[in-house]
């Protein structure tokens, strides 16, 4: 019997597979295909204080082994989330992580104040890839001081796990990650989408209404793996949740070998809706083949060439 459970700080997951924010709603739709409680956890779509309509369509576009998206954090706001989605989350027997984003520090704080008392929430994922209105729309996640201040300001407001989801669109992801951890983040999630664009040569128009968008899918796996490896090397005591480019169960295993203690699966579900569940099975099979008794033994088991 393989022990698939993993610990991410104080939070224990029954297995290392989590669905990524924005690709899974709160689990209602994919919940018609399989029981989300079989997963280690889910991260909800990003919730904001006020409702957001989201960006003008087209919002998605297929690219080589991946896709671009610019949804614009469309959601009905925290009030509707508490009313409509919390009752659904109550029924799930897996870790329920709520992704939150604000336009300024006060909005993040207000979101935590409203959501922290709810027993249906097991932790928060801070989405720092959204534009910071106080700083002229520049993403929060691109400046270590801003990320540090943000985590400082919300850390006292909750005892629940705080995960920070890092953007790869920076020169040094380790600096940002370190700032988050120094301010009390319990785990780092890496990576969010890479910025990109696509153009129609016939109309000469961008393929996405918002012009620029986030690239995801198997095309970004090598980038994600390197970021996870860098973070794990620099911060060996910090739990890393690996995200980016998982298209097959084996890709999740590479994230873990690189240093992730758990993984999130996002757009890989679109061509392969059962991927999260198959990844749980794949990790178990891998443990059997490699003679491991615990899935957590995979984390950071990378063998580097001898110099």
């Amino acid at each position: 019997m393989i022990d698939l459970s993993v610990k991410i700080g104080s939070l224990c997951l029954k297995n290392p597979v989590i669905t990524a924010s924005g690709c899974y709603g709160v689990g209602r739709e994919y919940g018609e295909l399989y029981d989300p409680s079989k997963l280690g956890g889910i991260v909800t779509k990003t919730i904001t204080l006020r409702p957001r309509e989201g960006n003008s369509p087209p919002r998605i576009c297929e690219t080589a082994a991946g896709m671009l998206n610019s949804i614009g954090l469309a959601n009905s706001g925290v009030g509707a989330f508490i009313r409509d989605d919390i009752p659904f989350l109550r029924k799930l027997e897996c870790a329920r992580i709520v992704s939150i984003a604000g336009e300024g520090l006060d909005e993040f704080a207000e979101l935590i104040r409203r959501l922290d008392p709810l027993g249906e929430i097991d932790g928060f994922e801070i989405n720092v890839s959204c534009p910071n209105v106080e700083r002229g729309g520049l993403a929060f996640g691109t400046d270590p001081d801003v990320v540090g201040k943000l985590v400082d300001s919300i850390r006292p407001l909750t005892q629940k796990p705080l995960w920070v989801k890092l953007t790869p669109n920076v020169t040094d992801i380790v600096k940002i990650g370190k700032a988050a951890v120094d301010s009390g983040a319990d785990a780092l999630c890496a990576i969010n989408t890479l910025l990109g664009m696509a153009i129609d040569i016939d109309t000469k128009k961008p393929m996405i209404g918002n012009v620029v968008a986030g690239l995801s899918g198997p095309a970004i796996l090598p980038v994600a793996l390197m970021k996870v490896f860098q973070l794990h090397t620099a911060l060996p005591e910090t739990p890393i949740v690996g995200i980016g480019g998982i298209g097959y169960p084996k890709d999740a295993i590479t994230h873990m070998i690189a240093g992730a203690c758990a993984v999130q699966i996002g757009s890989g579900q679109f061509p392969y809706p059962m991927l999260p569940l198959d990844t749980v099975a794949g990790i178990e099979t891998y443990c059997v083949i490699k003679g491991l008794s615990k899935a957590q033994e995979i984390t950071g088991s990378l063998i580097l060439p001898v110099k």
Binding site: G22, C23, Y24, G25, R28, E29, Y30, E32, L33, K45, E53, G54, P57, P58, R59, I60, C61, E62, T63, A64, A65, G66, M67, N69, I71, A74, G217, P218, A219, G247, S267, Q269, F270, P271, Y272, P273, M274
Partner: protein, 251 residues
């Protein structure tokens, strides 16, 4: 409830220029599929090229098989058209909101491969009439069996009536009344809606959009309606035409 299955291609045949009829063995999906619903049809593409599945409306669902009409417009549809009997592809369905079943008569207006869901409706509903339009006779889908009364129009007049498929709509509404169901190019659907609205009859349209998840989770396929953005995959693909912001819709 949708099912994700690996389905065997039982037949694939060319029915018009660049247009194929594809039949898949998918008993659970065929049992539940309703006219207007669709499936996310995937590929055997181990390197994720193409990455996303393609949303295709059912043109028929019976005897454990589902049928689609595929027109080659890009790499994905070209791969689908190259499939041969016996190959297996992943399909997820049935998905989306079906056409509301009409209480009185139904006038179906199909342009191009938009005729697919209307063929399904034509086979399931009582005595509808189908107006089917194409650019020319080369593109006109060859029907192995016609499910209901059908009036064909081609823009160049090479087969049937000459002109747009919507040209004959007013006369049909006059003759038998009923609800209009349209699927095809945006311009065609908008025209069908305008005629229906002028004559005081209801009109439902089935829209198309690029989709990622197909189940309502990712918010990628929205269109603008009078009640804000709506997901084509979950709130649609069938919409009350009066609810759509036609100005915002690109063809």
């Amino acid at each position: 409830m949708p099912f994700d299955t690996l389905s065997e291609v039982t037949a694939i045949q060319q029915i018009a220029e660049g247009t194929f009829r594809m039949i898949l063995e998918a008993p659970e999906i065929a049992r539940e599929a309703m006219p207007g619903q669709f499936a996310m049809v995937g590929f055997n593409s181990p390197l994720f090229d193409p990455f996303l599945r393609r949303p295709l409306s059912f043109s028929s669902a019976e005897f454990g098989r589902v049928e689609f009409i595929v027109r080659v417009v890009g790499w994905g549809t070209a791969l689908l058209s190259d499939l041969i009997s016996g190959e297996q592809i992943p399909i997820l369905g049935p998905l989306g909101t079906p056409f509301p079943r009409p209480e009185g008569g139904a006038i179906l207006v199909g342009g191009g491969v938009g005729v697919a869901p209307l063929l399904f409706a034509g086979a399931r509903w009582k005595n509808p009439i189908l107006l089917y339009g194409e650019a020319n006779s080369e593109k006109l889908c060859h029907m192995h069996s016609v499910p209901c009364e059908i009036i064909i129009a081609t823009e160049d007049g090479s087969t049937g009536l000459s002109g747009y498929v919507t040209d004959g709509l007013r006369e049909q509404i006059d003759k038998c009344g009923g609800t209009v169901f349209a699927c095809g190019p945006v311009k065609m659907m908008r025209r069908a809606y305008e005629i229906a609205a002028e004559m005081g009859v209801e009109c439902y349209v089935s829209l198309e959009a690029r989709m990622a998840c197909g189940v309502g989770a990712c918010m990628g396929c929205v269109i603008q309606t009078k009640d804000g953005y709506k997901r084509v995959c979950k709130d649609g693909p069938v919409f009350d035409a009066a609810q759509i912001d036609w100005e915002a819709l690109d063809d």
